[in-house]
Amino acid sequence: MPENTSAFHLLLSGDPALFSIVGLSLAVSLSAAVFASVIGMPLGALVALTRFRGREFVIVVMNALMGLPPVIVGLAVYLSLSRSGPLGSWGLLFTPPAMVIAQTILVTPIIAALTRQTIEDLWLEYRDEFSAMHIGAFKRISTLLWDGRFSLVTALLAGFGRAAAEVGSIIIVGGNIEGFTRTMTTAIALETSKGNLSLAIGLGFILIGIVVLVSALAWGMRRAGERFAG
């Protein structure tokens, strides 16, 4: 990317490097949010609906993991994916999938914890009616997931927001390689250290713009939920 140009100029001129950075950021964080949902939502629902020894402890751990420091996740994934590590043969270090893996690990607790909260609240509400209508276990779960869909989508957006904003893990496992693993956050870190502050700030605005958009979507989703399902 040319130096000394503001990010807005690059945006307007359709600079391919900038678009590839933004595109990669979205692809990685969105994928991570989706995978985290696939893992975290059933997990959260399971914890919400079953009684087992140590359930309170599991809930406390799930909530605590929401605050997992990204750099630690990055380090752990880095050591695992390194050629001299246990998963080295996958050859994933310094590639986008490694970034997706790290962010998925980061985001799954958030989605699981939010899902658990949503499902548990809904479950307490619906419990009697489920019994009254003789609904089987599997149907109960799918009903809860469907009726709670607006809150669950909000959880997914929250996960996406967290992933899109972080840099600590993906810079370690991705290596910030130009054209391959450079995302908005890692590019901002790089340009700042190079003294290209105007470019870094510009990228920052774009990133903030995306995060605000996601928040607006989440808010819109809540409103739609209220209006539609009451």
Partner: protein
């Protein structure tokens, strides 16, 4: 439960597919080069990699870290080539059997940067040792990279040459920040301190503020770059053929000329010296 496992496997499969797709085009002719942040910050890779792609058809992926970290990455087998500027550490690397041969490539020089105010009065000095001794005596604010990088190790060597035991002498005037060259320059600029930088990164640096070059040209400030192929016997996944192609290009007359043509603001930043037996 099986549904969960199935979904999980699907997820991993999808991740690998994404990986394959994004790597697909490059996977065939690409190598990973572990290098330093100063080299990256100087813009050298932005300049040379497209040329390499054009001439050799090889996609070079550079992971930029501190020298120590870069060598560690290679020791773990996560890179095919190491390209740093710390001869002692490179020779150690070879002694460990991590590489079979070191090729000198080019050099650039370090410069002593400081504020116009120059509290230690070092401007124009031709002897870096005197300058550093003066800074220490005046307890003038000095920023050190402190990150085991080639620059950091050169800085430590220069303190030794100046007769300063930096471990003893350091105090609040000596700030070790543990980051790359760009970051160090940022801090120096913000606090009007002295800092040792490679010329390339300095020329490239955008927020110079009140800083300028105070000491340059002393032979002791020369910064030699060496490139090494990671030993494929120790790390079978190294892409030996492609990596060797890359190295051969850099030390060839064509590559050396390309290196010499890298200019920023009309200044040549790197001086090719692959043929120098002492480099």
């Amino acid at each position: 439960m099986t549904r969960l496992l199935q979904t999980f496997r699907l997820a991993v499969l999808l991740a690998l597919i994404i990986g394959a797709i994004s790597n697909g085009a490059a996977a065939d002719r690409s190598i990973v080069v572990a290098s330093t942040t100063s080299t990256q910050d100087s813009g050298f890779f932005d300049y040379i990699l497209p040329i390499v792609k054009g001439r050799l058809g090889i996609t070079v992926k550079v992971v930029a870290q501190g020298t120590g970290q870069a060598l560690d990455t290679a020791r773990r087998g996560d890179a095919d080539v190491v390209f740093v500027h710390a001869k002692t550490a490179e020779l150690q690397f070879i002694a460990e059997g991590e590489s079979l041969k070191r090729y000198p490539v080019m050099y650039n020089d370090f410069v002593l940067i400081g504020s116009r105010a120059d509290p230690a009065g070092v401007k124009g000095s031709k002897d870096i040792r005197e300058a550093l001794a003066s800074i220490k005596n005046q307890r003038a604010l000095f920023i050190s990279r402190g990150d085991r990088s080639g620059t950091h190790m050169a800085e430590l060597a220069l303190w030794r040459d100046s007769g300063v035991d930096i471990e003893q002498a350091k105090g609040t005037w000596y700030e070790s920040i543990g980051q790359g060259m760009g970051a160090a320059l940022n801090v120096a600029s913000a606090s009007e301190a002295y800092v040792l930088s490679d010329r390339a990164t300095w020329v490239h640096f955008k927020s110079k503020g009140d800083l300028e070059i105070l000491v340059e040209g002393d032979k002791r400030l020369f910064n030699q770059y060496g490139i090494m192929l990671v030993n494929p016997q120790k790390h079978p996944t190294v892409k030996t053929a492609l990596a060797q192609e890359f190295i051969d290009y850099l030390i060839s007359p064509v590559g050396q000329q390309d290196i010499a043509h890298y200019m920023v603001d009309g200044q040549q930043l790197f001086y090719p010296d692959a043929n120098d037996p002492n480099a």
